[in-house]
Amino acid sequence: MSYILGHSAAEPGWYVITVGGECDLNAAPSLSVAVEAAFQRGVDTMVVDLKETTFIDSTAIGVLLAARERLRGSGGRFEVVCGTPNVVRVLEIVGVETVAGVP
C-alpha cells in the first residue's frame, strides 16, 4: 500500500488522499496517519481516492468511517472515489458510498 496526501493551493481545506495497492492490517496505520495529517492541516473536504486500490480491509474501512463521522460532525465533506467494481461492491455492503470521479 502507498498513499499520497494531495492539496490544492486554490482550495484551502481540500485534501485528497490517494491510496494505491492492497490496504490491509499492515496498511491501516499509514492510512490513519494520512487522515490525521489532513485534519491537522484543517481539512474541510476530504477526498479518499481508491481508484488504484485493489483491496481494502475492515480496519482501513474503519479509518474511513471515523474520518467521515468527524467531517460530518464539523459540517465538512467526505468523499470516496472508487472505480474498481469489487472494491465498490464491498464498500457498498459495509455502508460506504463511493463516487466514480474526484469531485
Binding site: 467494481p85 469489487n86 461492491r89 464491498v90
Partner: protein, 133 residues
Amino acid sequence: MLACPERLELPADPSELVTARRFADCAAARFGLDEPERYQFTFAANEAVSNAIEHGEPSPEGTIRIHVAEEDGALVFEVEDHGTFAPSPAALDPLPERGRGLAFMAATVDEVDVRRSVSGTVVRLCKRRAAAA
C-alpha cells in the same frame, strides 16, 4: 482445474496476510465463484486470518493454520489459532472504529461460525455460488 493448496500453515504475522488472500482467492476461483463473490470470499477470509494473527495465539511453532474444502456444495474456509476468544476493550486500540470485522464477514459470506474450545478458536466461513444462494 487450478492447482491450489488445500491447507497452509502461516507464520502469525500480518505480512502473511497477502499469502492468505492469494490462497483464498485461488480456492474461490477453482470452486467457481464469480468475480464479485470471489472477492467477497477473499475479503471475509482476510478478516478471519487478521483476527487470528492479531487477537489469537499461534501454535508452539508460531503458526496459524488455514484450510479450504468443499462441503455440501459450498466453499468452506477455516482458520485456526491456539488462543482464547475474548472481546478486547476498544480503548486499547489506537485505530478508530474497530470491531466491525465479524459483522463484515457475516455480510460478505453466507455463513460465519466462531468456535471456542480449550485448544483455541476456529473461524469457519461458507460461501455458495451465486446461482445456488
